[in-house]
Each structure stands twice: as structure tokens, then as C-alpha cells.
């Protein structure tokens, strides 16, 4: 029995009476809608948070008016504004690809949520290749970005898309290798079992395994994941002082909003992967704190990483493209290979 189905069956016992295909479809669609709601809410919250964090780092207040308390309704107002904006497609654009690009980017991000384990029971799809799946799905976004940038028929967009593509695929190697270091020990790719293998207290988390090897792997993963989601110091695809808006220069209205949503959803996904693989997922750091439910731990840890991503954005300048490639191929990749070999050696001896 799938954990997700069991979860819903416990809540609503009557669904086990339905035909199997119907029950699974209903459960699946309800989960997607729930997670879509979560993504939208998270993005709105993250946008608000980013604006407030940047404001306070920069001696400003940020949005204060809309909604009363510290401008909490500002992102909602922004979302409504984007919804009622005119949708403009450039004259010479490839219209089909132009329209398809945001769909791919956002769907890829949403599909990544399918294997995130929120707690022991609630995991939408507990695939036995979960980690591999999430890596492959998240690289779908590259295709969307490339499509969007190319279809816009704008030089800045094309440059942004090309940079995004070369950057994201390059940094996929260190990401995959860093995660591999953990799988070698855990012996599973299921997101759920990866977390279960870390049960215990904080010292059983993977990040403290083979100290300091996995910790270095975690660091490599985090740096590379910044590049995966185009955050500073790796935000070259959309660096405004060079490429104006990068791949989404020509996008407006809801299509732009979905690029934006996809970006924030990806920020959450990479943080959630780091949480699951390195930081013990839904587990509490100490036995004594077990009374706090798992999802709160999970979201809390992921949000901490998201906060660090935002923090870095407002303290670091952007790298140049040759330095970016240097960091990936000549620093992170050799180091992650070394870590895999060292962990293998450690385990064998």
C-alpha cells in the first residue's frame, strides 16, 4: 500500500470502497492541488520574505502599507496585478514555443514536489528511484528556459537562455555527485527511506556522517544548487546589469509570473532535497523534540536553507561566466569525485 493512499484512507475511510483507479486518481489530483496551493503560498511568502530581508539588510523597511502588518498582503497585490496585466508576445517570436516555455518550467518544478517526503506518512509518490527522479525532473526546467529564451527572438533572451543552459547542466554534475556520496552509505534512492535511515538524534544525520566528508559534500551540493536555481552569486542568466532580464526579458503578465513561481518553487525544492538527504528530513534533532510534527521540521529546515539563499543574494556580487565555469568544472567536480572515493575507501576499510 502506498503511503499517500494510506494517509488519505485514514482520513477518509470511504475511499477504499471506490474502484482502485478512481481512488488513486482522486487522491493524486487532490494532492497535486494541495501542493500547487502550497507552491503558490510559499512563493508569495518567499517573495514577501525576500523583500523584507533585503530591505532590512539594506537599511530600509520594505513594503509596509498593503494589508497593514508589515505589508503582508503585498505579494497578493502583486499576483493580482500580474493576473490582470496585458499579455504581450513579440512580433517575430515563435509563438508555440513562447507559450509552452513557462508551462514546462513550472510543471517541472511542480513535478519535483511529487517525491518530497513531508513526514513519515505524507509523501505523494514514494518512488524507489526518488532522488534520481527529482534530479531528472528538475533538469527539465533547462529545456523550458532555452525554449523561452530562443522563442522570444531577442538577443538578450537568447544570451540569457544560453547561459542558463550551460550553467545549469554544468552544475548538475557536482549536485549529482554530492548526493551520490550519501546514497553510497544509505543504500537507497527512495526519499522516504533516506530519511528513515537517519533516525536518531542530530548526530545521526547524514551531514555528520564520515565527518567531515559528507559535510563537504553538503557544502558542494549547496553551492551547486545555488547555480541550479540561478541565485546570486550565480545569477548570470538574469543579471540585469549585463543581460537586462535574461531569458524572461520579453515575458509579461501570467507567463512571467510562472517563470517567477517556478524559480521560487525550485529554490524550495533544492532546499528540500538538501533537507531530506543531509539534514534528516522531517526528523527532530533531539528525541525530546519529537512532539513537534514532522512537516513542521521539514518545512522549517528547508526554509532555513531558503533564507540562507536569500541572505547570500544580498551579500555577494555575481561571478563572471568564465569564473562560473571554473568553479564548477575545476573545483566542485574534482572535489566531489574525491569525496566519493574517500567515502568508498572509508567504508571498505
Amino acid at each position: 500500500m502506498e503511503p499517500l493512499f494510506q494517509f488519505f484512507n485514514n482520513l477518509f475511510p470511504f475511499i477504499s470502497d471506490w474502484p482502485e483507479w478512481l481512488a488513486h486518481t482522486v487522491v493524486g489530483v487532490v494532492t497535486v492541488l494541495l501542493l500547487f496551493g502550497f507552491v503558490a503560498l510559499f512563493a508569495l511568502f518567499a517573495i514577501w520574505l525576500e523583500r523584507k530581508i533585503s530591505a532590512h539588510m539594506q537599511d530600509r523597511l520594505g513594503p509596509m502599507e498593503v494589508g497593514g502588518w508589515h505589508g503582508w498582503a503585498q505579494p497578493i497585490a502583486d499576483a493580482i496585478k500580474l493576473l490582470v496585466k496585458e499579455d504581450i508576445i513579440p512580433a517575430m517570436a515563435d509563438r508555440t514555443l513562447f507559450k509552452l516555455a513557462p508551462v514546462i518550467v513550472f510543471t517541472a518544478a511542480l513535478a519535483g514536489f511529487a517525491v518530497l517526503p513531508w513526514s513519515q506518512d505524507f509523501i505523494p509518490a514514494d518512488l524507489n528511484v526518488g532522488l534520481l527522479y527529482i534530479l531528472s525532473v528538475s533538469s527539465f526546467a533547462v529545456i523550458g528556459l532555452l525554449m523561452g529564451g530562443w522563442a522570444s527572438n531577442n538577443k538578450w533572451s537568447l544570451y540569457g537562455a544560453m547561459r542558463a543552459a550551460s550553467q545549469m547542466i554544468s552544475y548538475e554534475i557536482p549536485v549529482a555527485l554530492a548526493l551520490l556520496a550519501v546514497i553510497m552509505n544509505a543504500g537507497t534512492m527512495s526519499m522516504r527511506h533516506l530519511v528513515i535511515a537517519q533516525s536518531g538524534n542530530i548526530l545521526d544525520w547524514n551531514v555528520f556522517n564520515f565527518f567531515p566528508l559528507t559535510a563537504v559534500a553538503f557544502f558542494i551540493y549547496f553551492v551547486a544548487s545555488l547555480a541550479e536555481v540561478n541565485r546570486t552569486p550565480f545569477d548570470l542568466p538574469e543579471g540585469e546589469s549585463e543581460l537586462v532580464g535574461g531569458f524572461h526579458t520579453e515575458y509579461s503578465s501570467m507567463r512571467f509570473a510562472f517563470f517567477f513561481l517556478g524559480e521560487y518553487a525550485n529554490m524550495y525544492i533544492v532546499s528540500a532535497i538538501a533537507t531530506t538527504v543531509f539534514l534528516g528530513g522531517w526528523l527532530a534533532p533531539f528525541e525530546a523534540l519529537n512532539f513537534i510534527p514532522g512537516p513542521i521540521w521539514f518545512v522549517g529546515k528547508a526554509m532555513t536553507l531558503v533564507f540562507i539563499q536569500m541572505w547570500l543574494r544580498w551579500t555577494l556580487p555575481r561571478l563572471r561566466v568564465d569564473q562560473l565555469m571554473y568553479t564548477c568544472w575545476k573545483v566542485l567536480t574534482p572535489f566531489s569525485f574525491a569525496i566519493i572515493l574517500l567515502i568508498g575507501l572509508w567504508k571498505v576499510l
Partner: protein, 371 residues
């Protein structure tokens, strides 16, 4: 490999409407991949013809016009025009006025450097710095507002002295702001000037040839960033600079980083200069009045004066034919040399990402190119 395959050149327009460009000008880039092969600067989006305008104005009416030549730092322009007129007329400037002028010039230099720090780090994608520096620049602007009544255009320095004396307690408020900025400089160091990523971006980028720098007419921080100690304040002291204790700051390297360090150290030095000025400032009148401005005829003659502004040497050549209006006012600013000819030379072989980075390090100011 890349030598074999001929890549096609693409034309990219950077500006006039581009987030990385300082002001309204355009750089036409011929690029292959993301390497710039040629860069051509196009100006003319801001032309207002200040020099010609001044030929149709009374002498007094020229002062509000020269302020507009470079928006971030109007004071060196006023100073230049005032000194040129004084030289033609042979008018004395009271000593207190000279001290006040020095203080105003140094404060305006600090304000411009703050703006520049923001632009430099903004062009590298760090947007915290502009918010900080523009916020801190406001303290200096507030001082100017109290002193002159204007926040951006001061029209404070005029022929024969300055427009009015310091308000009560002004010196203390200046000292307070200086203390604050000095303390704040450590924050800037930690955020930008010692930031590893910034060093990576800035060192070895945008190199000016040291041997040719003077020949090309490079001035100000870019020249001192080549290790050449040239500063009008020292070479040809005006006002009270020769009575103060300060050194010309140079930095070897001739790259973006050395220019940044020159500015950063000069900022610190300006604080000390203003402190000395405040300590040594004598009492006395601040203005040596001339005739009624409406009937003010400057005797026939000509003068060339120079001032060290935050972006380099500003020269004014003023000719009077003895009438109510100037015969000719010629402005020789640093931005044309830096922003047009030098920039075009430096862009060859650069990455697209470095274009606005280098441009900011030179301190280009498009309105001044087209005075």
C-alpha cells in the same frame, strides 16, 4: 578549436535604456559569443548645449547653468566658473570663504564617491551597497540643504566668495556626519572592498596602459589608479589645499580594483581634510561683493582654471569681451576622455558582463560628455 571556427559577429546595443549603464548613452557592441570585439559609444541622448547657452546669459545667470553639467557633483563646476571670473576681474576672495569652499568641494567629493560605490557594486550584481551608500549620501545632502537651500544643485559658490555664511552649529553637525561616515566605512569594507567575489571580479579587469595613460588625457582616480601621482589639488593648489596636511593617493595595478581602492582611500582622506578645514577656519566675511548682477560687466580677458573633481580634472576656459555676457565658456571635463575614447579602447576583448563594470569604474557621466 575556436580559432578554426569563424564566429559571426552580433550587434548588441547597451543603452540608452539599459539597467547597467550610467545615464543616457549607448554602447554599440560587436560581440562573438560573449566576448566584445569592438565597442562604439554613441552619445547625444542628453544634449542641452550648456556652453552655447551661457553665451546668451548674464554672468550671474551662468552659475545655475554650470551646476547642471554634472548632476552628482555640481560644486566643482561652480568653483571653476567663480575662480575663472575672479582671475579675470582680479577680485579677492576672503579667507573664510576659501575655507568654506574647500569644505563644500570635499563634501561633494564624498557624496559623489558614495554614489559611485553604489554604482560599482550594483554593476557587479550586489544591490545592498547602493542602498546603503545612497542612504548615507543623504546625510551629506542634508548638510548641503541646510547650508545652501538646495539638495542637488547648490549654486553656493559664486564670484567673490560664497553665498552665505555657515548656519549656527553647522560645524558640529558636519563633524557628526563625518564621524558616522568614518565608522560606516568599515561596513563598506566588509561588504564590498574586501569581498572575495568582488576582488575576483575587479582585479586584472579593465587595465589602462600606464605609459599611455597621461598621453590619452586620463585624469583623476583612473590615473592615480595607475600609480601616477597627479592631482590638481597638489600640482596647482587652489583655495586652501596647500595649507592642509594631505597626500596624493595612488594605487598600483591600473585595474578596476585599484581605481576602487583609490576612491575608497580618498574618501577617508576627504573626511580628514574636512576636519582640518573645520579646525582651521578663521572668522571673517564670506563674500567680496561685486557690482549689481544685472549690470555686471566682467573686464575683457581670459582665464583657464582647473579643479580636481571626484571624477578627475575639470578645466574651464572663460573668455570675456567686457560685455554683460561671456564671450565663450569652454568646459573640459573628464567624462569625455573616460567615457568615450578610453572606454572604446578598453572594451576590446572584454566579457559582456564587464562592460558596465568597467564603465562604472571610470566614473562616466553622460550629461557632462555633451555639455
Amino acid at each position: 578549436m575556436s580559432e578554426i571556427m569563424q564566429e559571426k559577429e552580433t550587434t548588441l546595443y547597451l543603452g540608452p535604456q539599459h539597467p547597467g549603464i550610467t545615464g543616457n548613452m549607448m554602447i554599440e557592441l560587436k560581440v562573438t559569443g560573449d566576448t566584445v570585439q569592438r565597442g562604439t559609444t554613441h552619445v547625444g541622448y542628453l544634449h542641452r548645449g550648456f556652453e552655447k547657452l551661457m553665451e546668451e546669459r548674464l554672468w550671474m545667470q551662468c552659475f545655475p547653468i554650470v551646476c547642471r553639467i554634472c548632476v552628482p557633483e555640481p560644486d566643482p563646476n561652480e568653483e571653476n566658473l567663480a575662480r575663472a571670473i575672479e582671475e579675470i576681474e582680479g577680485r579677492e576672495v576672503p579667507e573664510r570663504a576659501q575655507y568654506i569652499r574647500t569644505m563644500v568641494l570635499e563634501l561633494s567629493r564624498m557624496a559623489t564617491y558614495l554614489l559611485w560605490m553604489g554604482g560599482q557594486s550594483g554593476s557587479a550584481g550586489l544591490y545592498t551597497m547602493p542602498q546603503w551608500t545612497v542612504g548615507d549620501r543623504d546625510y551629506i545632502i542634508d548638510l548641503f540643504e541646510e547650508l545652501t537651500g538646495g539638495r542637488v544643485y547648490h549654486m553656493y559658490i559664486w564670484a567673490g566668495g560664497v553665498r552665505r555664511d555657515l548656519p549656527d552649529g553647522f560645524k558640529d553637525r558636519v563633524r557628526k556626519v563625518l564621524d558616522y561616515l568614518e565608522e560606516r566605512l568599515t561596513d563598506y569594507d566588509r561588504l564590498l572592498f574586501e569581498n572575495a567575489v568582488f576582488l575576483k571580479r575587479a582585479q586584472g579587469v579593465g587595465i589602462i596602459d600606464k605609459e599611455k595613460a597621461e598621453e590619452w588625457g586620463v585624469v583623476g582616480p583612473p590615473l592615480r589608479g595607475c600609480g601616477i601621482a597627479r592631482d590638481v589639488r597638489k600640482d596647482e593648489p587652489y583655495e586652501v589645499y596647500d595649507k592642509l596636511d594631505w597626500e596624493v593617493i595612488t594605487h598600483e595595478g591600473s585595474d578596476v580594483y585599484s581605481r576602487a581602492m583609490v576612491r575608497r582611500k580618498e574618501f577617508e582622506q576627504s573626511i580628514s581634510i574636512v576636519r582640518q578645514v573645520l579646525d582651521k577656519m578663521p572668522e571673517g566675511p564670506v563674500h567680496n561683493p561685486g557690482p549689481n548682477p544685472l549690470k555686471w560687466k566682467v573686464p575683457a580677458g581670459e582665464a583657464y582654471v582647473r579643479t580636481e573633481s571626484a571624477r578627475g580634472e575639470f578645466g574651464y576656459y572663460v573668455v570675456s569681451d567686457g560685455s554683460l555676457k561671456p564671450r565663450r565658456v569652454h568646459v573640459r571635463g573628464p567624462a569625455y576622455v573616460h567615457g568615450v575614447t578610453l572606454l572604446e579602447k578598453m572594451l576590446k576583448g572584454m566579457n559582456i558582463a564587464d562592460v558596465s563594470f568597467i564603465m562604472n569604474s571610470l566614473g562616466t557621466c553622460p550629461p557632462e560628455i555633451e555639455r
